[in-house]
Amino acid sequence: MKRLLAALAFLALCAPAAAQAPGDVASDLPAGVAEDSITVSSDYRGSYVTVFGVNPDRRGRGDIVVVVRGPSESAVVMQKRRVLGLWVNGDPVRFSEAPTFFAVLSNRPLRSIASAQSIWRYQLDPAASAQLETSTGDTDPSAYRAALVRLRRGQGLYQEYSSGATPDQRGGLTMYQGGLFRAVVRLPANAPIAQYHADTYLFRDGRLISAQRIPISISRVGIERRIHDLATNVPLIYGLLTVMLALAAGWVAAFLFRRT
C-alpha cells in the first residue's frame, strides 16, 4: 500500500505531462512512468518500464490499455524455400513501418475492450502497427504479417498481456482500488536503444474516451555511449582505432612471449 501511495504522490507531480491524444479524444487521463529515462551502461541486461495511472471515471467504469512502443523502422520478412535440397531465404515482403518494440497491456482481453476497427485505428496490437509497403506482388501478405509478429514475439520484442503480472510472466497490468492501475513491461536487452513512448488509453463500451502519451528515452551512457558514438559518427577513425588496438595486443603478446 505504501508503494501505491508513493505512486499516487508521483502521479500528482507528473500529471501535467505533455499529452498527444489521437484526434478528438480527451487527454485527461493522469498517467506517468516510474523512470522517464533508462540508461544503458556496460552492465545493462534489459530493464523494466512501469506505467502508473488513474482512471478518471469516479465510478471506475471503463477499461485501461497501455501500449509501450519503440521506434518504427522498415523490416523484411522472407520465407524459406527449398532449392536443390537446401532451405534458402526467398520471397521477401517489405514492411515500410514496423515497431521495433511493442508491448500492449490491458486489464482484460483486448478484443473484449475495443472493436477490431479501434484496434486497427489506434494501432493497439503489433500486427495493426506494421505497415506493408504497397507492392507485395502476388504473395499473401497476411501470413508475412503474422510471421513478423511471431518472430519478434519470440525475441521478446512484442509482448501482449491481458491481466496482472504473475510470477511466470514478464509483465502485466494490475488494477487497484480507486481506479489506480500499474503496468509493468520487461524491456529485454535486445530491444533497440532509442526513444520510446508509453501510451495509455481509457475505453468505455468499446469507445476510446481518453488517451495520454508519455515519452521514455533509452540512451547509452559512459563507455558504451563513447564507443557507439565513435562507431556511427566517425566510422573510419573507429576502424583505425580497432586496428591499433589489435596491433597493440599483438605487440604485447609477442613481447611477453619473448620474455618467457
Binding site: Y44, N89, I223, T242
Partner: protein
C-alpha cells in the same frame, strides 16, 4: 555479463574468454590462425553473423601481428612477395566487403556464409584427417613428394615475371595477385585470416621455400584483416570494439598456452582430433541447411 555496444546484446565475459581462449589454444597447438573456428563459435553463441565476421577480423589482425614480430626476428618474411599478395588482398577484401554489404541487404548473407563454412570446414577437416592417417600409417603425405619434384607450374610460364630474392624465385606476378585477391575476398565474407589456404597454395602453387611461407602469409593476413576491419567499420558498422578486446585477450593467452603445450604433444594426434571436430562442425552447418525448418519465415535485410 557485459553489454556489447555494437552487437546490442549482453554476453557472458567468462564464456567469451573461454571460447576465444580455447580457439587460441587450438591455433597455438596446431599452428593455424583460428579465424575459421572463432567466427562460427561466435555465431553459435548468438552473436549476429555480420558482427561475428567483422569483429573476428580484428582478432586475427592481433594474432598475425604478434606472429610477424617473431618471424621478422628470424628474417623469414619475403617482403616483396608479401606486398604483391597484399595488393591482390586489398582489392579482394574491398570487393569482399562490398559483396558482404550487398548480401546483408538481400538477406542472403547467412546462407552464403553457412555454405562457404560448410565447404571450408569439410575440406580442411578432411585434409587434416588424411594427413594424420597417413602419418599414423607411416606413409608420406602425397603433397610432400610433389613438392620435391622440380615441376614448373603456371606461375613459371605466365608473363610479367619478377625476381623474388628471398624466396629464390623468378615467377609471374599474376598468381600471387590472384591468390591474394581470392583470399582477401574469402576473408572479408567469412571472417577468416586465410592462412591455412594461403600456406599450402604458396608451397604447392608458387613453390616458395617453407621457411619464408609462414612469415609472408602472416604479413598478408595482417594487411588484409586490418583493411577489412576499417572497411567493415565504415560500410556496415558491425565491428564491436568491446567484443574485439575480449577476443584478443582470450586468443592471445590461449595461443601462448597452446604453443607451450603443443611442444610436448604429437602433432598428428592433434591434427586428427581437430580434423574430426571440423568435419563434425561442417556436418552441423549442412544439417541446418537440409532439415525442414520449424519456422518457415525469417526476418532479413539487416542485423535483426
Amino acid at each position: 555479463m557485459i553489454y556489447l555496444p555494437i552487437a546490442e546484446m549482453p554476453v557472458n565475459v567468462l564464456l567469451v574468454l573461454l571460447v576465444s581462449g580455447g580457439v587460441g589454444f587450438v591455433s597455438g597447438l596446431v599452428g593455424v590462425g583460428g579465424g575459421f573456428i572463432m567466427t562460427p563459435a561466435l555465431m553459435f553463441m548468438g552473436v549476429p553473423a555480420p558482427v561475428a565476421v567483422a569483429t573476428g577480423a580484428s582478432q586475427i589482425a592481433a594474432t598475425s601481428f604478434s606472429g610477424i614480430m617473431t618471424q621478422t626476428r628470424r628474417k623469414s618474411v619475403d617482403w616483396r612477395m608479401g606486398m604483391l599478395l597484399s595488393i591482390g588482398g586489398i582489392v579482394g577484401s574491398a570487393s569482399g566487403v562490398w559483396l558482404f554489404e550487398r548480401l546483408l541487404r538481400l538477406g542472403q548473407l547467412d546462407l552464403i556464409v553457412s555454405l562457404l563454412y560448410l565447404l571450408l570446414l569439410a575440406s580442411v577437416g578432411f585434409l587434416m584427417l588424411r594427413e594424420a592417417y597417413h602419418h599414423w600409417r607411416g606413409r608420406e603425405v602425397q603433397g610432400v613428394s610433389i613438392l620435391r619434384r622440380p615441376i614448373k607450374t603456371m606461375a613459371h610460364t605466365l608473363p610479367f615475371r619478377l625476381r623474388f630474392p628471398r624466396s629464390g624465385l623468378y615467377i609471374s606476378v599474376i598468381p600471387p595477385l590472384a591468390l591474394g585477391f581470392g583470399i582477401g575476398g574469402l576473408a572479408a565474407i567469412m571472417g577468416i585470416g586465410g592462412g591455412f589456404i594461403l600456406i599450402p597454395a604458396m608451397i604447392y602453387l608458387l613453390r616458395m621455400p617453407t621457411n619464408v611461407v609462414i612469415g609472408t602469409s602472416l604479413f598478408n593476413v595482417l594487411i588484409t584483416t586490418s583493411l577489412i576491419v576499417v572497411l567493415q567499420s565504415a560500410a556496415t558498422q558491425t565491428v564491436d570494439l568491446v567484443l574485439a578486446g575480449l577476443l584478443m585477450l582470450g586468443g592471445v593467452i590461449g595461443a601462448q598456452m597452446g604453443v607451450r603445450l603443443g611442444a610436448g604433444l604429437k602433432g598428428e594426434t592433434i591434427r586428427g582430433v581437430l580434423g574430426a571436430l571440423l568435419l563434425a562442425a561442417s556436418a552441423k552447418f549442412l544439417w541446418d541447411l537440409v532439415i525442414p525448418p520449424t519456422e518457415h519465415y525469417v526476418l532479413g535485410g539487416g542485423l535483426g
